[in-house]
């Protein structure tokens, strides 16, 4: 089946390295468009294609060699000033890089890539001969290649995978992109996109197992780690071994009846040392999973540029904080949401140049993509300086679409109104364009972020722009939790959802519409007893309320008492997973605690979201 029997490892190495290289070429191409004569850039891009060609040669990937060779020659002429870079030539180069990327997708499946689109080859050859390239209406096909090809690797299909993951539908030979997108992408008679469409549906190996392997991103299960970081892990495990030996010796002493101060002091020292070493080791292991987010960021300027061009807008994507390190698995899962936010910013956020000039804004719009670490969180920001979002209009739109009721609309404040865009089926675009506005999207973006235990917030000022703020935990392996108790039984809830803890006093609980509620600083919140959520008999002593913040609802979780916070190491329950339980963790005293999945517990309630005051207060009310 594989065209690369015996060379699999080489192929994997090549793909990882060459994909990075191609991303940086793409990144530099966007720079080159602004500084067409930059020798340094021309040299770097030349070398990029040259290097890919060299590696491809050893893989016998003749078509890839051929394509890179032509592109490389073009850059050789450009850097020697034999040719001059103009927009039609740039288009040819960009379609060539898209074609190279497309060939990588074949290699990923262990197959030799077929020949590149003859049109691209012909245009490259014509450019090499120094023929002026006719300014055909390239913008449309190029945009299609550019948007469709990177999407093939990292864009739209994942929405589908996600959908499959959610619905549990077995991967079918379904079109990789949603129908509208598919049609839009295929409209310009572009052989590259066509051949991709054929591959997805026609190739016998693509259904079933391959599809699933794609979902698991088989290729990306390996990770490149700086050797100094591995050395640190090795060093720490050595130290832990030594400390363990020390403890073993001390145990023998103690079992033999020694309990003098000296022995106990030595035990104390050894245990605190072990404590320190283990937390260092945890950190060091975590660090091996950390990658600079710049590796993800560098592919966006190209996507942004292509999109802005196809929409006739002048947009600059400004990157910051590329050095910020983030868990590798998160990098992969963030790729699509960020693409979506950037597309939204360019498609809906920023105004066309003419409109901007009329408003007295700079002609060029700025979209900022920034990452930074804030405490134990990573914050990613996608901000535009466009027209902003109007809460009033969003409410009206949501009403019109029937996503919310009249009553709900009246209770929404500005922030809640902005959050309406995250509701399934909500799309503010008046028309459906091929880049965004399909109504799938923002809700999937939020679902994706929440899967990573993250949150997403919107800030927007009409006329000034919109900012999306994604906040993510540093790692998925450790979850800060709040331990709450029902009687003697502890449960863990994710600390990220906890806003505050307050006492529940019978006098403060009101009944609205048959449901117990409390007013916290002007906000009316339903009070949900934990036993009610779990299906336990009502508690007799709900004394505390934990103000929980989930994507859709804020509510007060009524509990008996709480036992502090803990950094839980999550053990997932793979085979046996009760509804509403995200996993388990072990406390320092050895007790096993269930980590609750609030969202699932809430959804299990359906419409019965609330209990009468009497049920909540139970015996307390009687006592009062």
């Amino acid at each position: 089946m594989s065209d690369f029997a015996g060379m699999e490892e080489l192929l994997q190495d090549f793909l990882v390295e060459a994909t990075d290289l191609l991303s940086s070429v793409d990144f530099k191409l966007v720079d080159l468009e602004r500084a067409p004569g930059d020798r340094g850039l021309l040299n770097d891009i030349f070398r990029g294609f040259h290097t890919i060609k060299g590696g491809a040669g050893f893989l016998n990937a003749g078509e890839l060699v051929n394509l890179c060779h032509l592109t490389e020659n073009l850059f050789d002429k450009l850097r020697n000033m034999e040719l001059h870079l103009d927009p039609p030539l740039m288009d040819v180069i960009l379609s060539a890089t898209a074609a190279v990327r497309h060939m990588f997708t074949h290699l990923e499946r262990g197959m030799q890539p077929p020949a590149a689109d003859p049109d691209i080859i012909a245009r490259l050859q014509a450019a090499l001969r120094g023929e002026a390239l006719a300014k055909v209406e390239h913008t449309a096909p190029i945009a299609a290649v550019a948007v469709a090809a990177p999407a093939a690797a990292s864009g739209e299909p994942d929405w589908n995978l996600l959908h499959r993951a959610v619905t549990g539908v077995v991967p079918q030979a379904a079109p990789a992109t949603p129908p509208e997108a598919q049609r839009a992408a295929n409209q310009p008679a572009d052989p590259v996109t066509h051949s991709f469409g054929r591959r997805a549906s026609d190739h016998p190996g693509f259904t079933g197992p391959t599809g699933r392997r794609d979902a698991e991103r088989g290729r990306d299960t390996s990770i490149r780690v700086d050797t100094s970081r591995l050395d640190q892990v090795l060093n720490l495990s050595g130290e832990i071994g030594l400390t363990k030996n020390r403890l073993t010796a001390l145990r023998a002493d103690i079992l033999n009846g020694r309990s003098d101060t000296e022995t106990l002091h030595a035990l104390d020292v050894a245990v605190s040392q072990l404590d320190l070493l283990v937390s260092d080791l945890q950190n060091a292991v975590m660090k091996t999973r950390m990658q600079p987010i710049g590796r993800l960021f560098q592919k966006y300027p190209r996507i942004a540029r292509d999109l802005a061009r196809s929409l006739g807008k002048d947009v600059e994507l400004d990157l910051a904080g590329e050095d910020t390190e983030i868990d590798k698995t998160m990098i992969e899962d963030l790729s699509d949401p960020i693409i979506h936010l950037i597309r939204n910013a360019i498609d809906h956020g920023v105004e066309p140049s003419s409109e901007r000039l009329a408003l007295g804004k700079p002609e060029k719009s700025l979209v900022r993509l920034e990452a930074r670490q804030e405490g134990d969180h990573i914050v990613i920001i996608v901000a535009d300086d466009g027209r902003g979002m109007n809460p009033e209009r969003l409410r009206a739109k949501a009403l019109e679409k029937g996503v919310i009721t009249d009553e709900e609309a009246n209770t929404l404040d500005e922030r809640a109104s902005l959050n309406l865009v995250f509701l399934p089926g909500f799309s503010t675009a008046e028309r459906v364009s091929d880049v965004s506005g399909r109504g799938v999207g923002m809700d999937v973006v939020r679902t994706n972020i929440q899967k990573l235990n993250g949150t997403i917030e919107i800030r927007s000022t009409v006329g000034k722009g919109t900012t999306f703020m994604i906040s993510l935990p540093l790692t998925l392996a450790i979850l800060p939790v709040l331990l709450v108790k029902l009687g003697e039984q502890p449960f863990a809830v994710p600390l990220s959802m906890v806003r505050e803890i307050l006492p529940i006093e019978p006098a403060g609980v009101q009944e609205i519409g048959g449901r117990a509620t409390m007013v916290v600083r002007g906000e009316v919140l339903p009070v949900l007893p934990l036993p009610h959520l779990l299906g336990w008999p009502p508690s007799q002593q709900a004394e505390y309320g934990v103000l929980m913040q989930t994507a859709e609802h804020n509510f007060i979780l009524a509990i008996d008492s709480f036992a502090g916070r803990e950094d839980a190491v999550i053990k997932s329950l793979d085979d046996f997973r009760p509804k509403g339980v995200a996993g388990v963790t072990t406390l320092s005293n050895g007790q096993i605690v269930l980590i609750l999945d609030m969202k699932e517990l809430l959804s299990g309630l359906g419409d019965a979201r609330g209990v009468p005051r009497s049920v909540l207060l139970g015996s307390m009310a009687k006592a009062a």
């Binding site: 390295e17 290289l21 770097d44 070398r47 060609k53 060299g54 040669g57």
Partner: protein, 132 residues
């Protein structure tokens, strides 16, 4: 025949390529291989001593293979080191430039272990003749 313990320095900015060359050398019985990602790092490794054979790519950032070759030939300490140039081009002007700079051999990508062996043998023969 050459000593299998001979220490090679493989210079290439593309780590996949370094691995390919390293594997090919291993196939030929040379397991003592150091790596450098460009000419600058290569010169540092040369200063460290012990290197007996340099295999270098041509196109690299910071310092190209040709510049590395020139630097090696200009240094009294290791100007006699054999240097095999690897390149993707079989262009005449490249071959001439390499020969003029004093390359011991020239090999075009992609190549097999057999081709590499042939080039190495030629270089070893030349060295032996010189030594004799």
């Amino acid at each position: 025949m050459a000593d299998p313990k001979m220490k090679f320095l493989v210079v290439d900015d593309f780590s996949t390529m370094r691995r390919i060359v390293r594997n090919l050398l291993k196939e030929l019985g040379f397991a003592n291989v150091e790596e450098a990602e460009d000419g600058v790092v290569a010169l540092q490794k040369l200063q460290g001593g012990g290197i007996e054979f340099v295999v270098t790519d041509w196109n690299m950032p910071n310092m190209t293979g040709l510049e590395l070759l020139q630097a090696i030939r200009a240094n009294a300490q290791y100007k006699h080191l054999p240097v095999l140039m690897i390149t993707a081009e079989a262009k005449k002007e490249n071959i001439i430039a390499a020969a003029q700079a004093g390359a011991s051999g020239y090999i075009v990508k992609p190549f097999t272990a057999a081709t590499l062996s042939e080039k190495l043998t030629k270089i070893f023969e030349k060295m032996e003749k010189k030594a004799a």
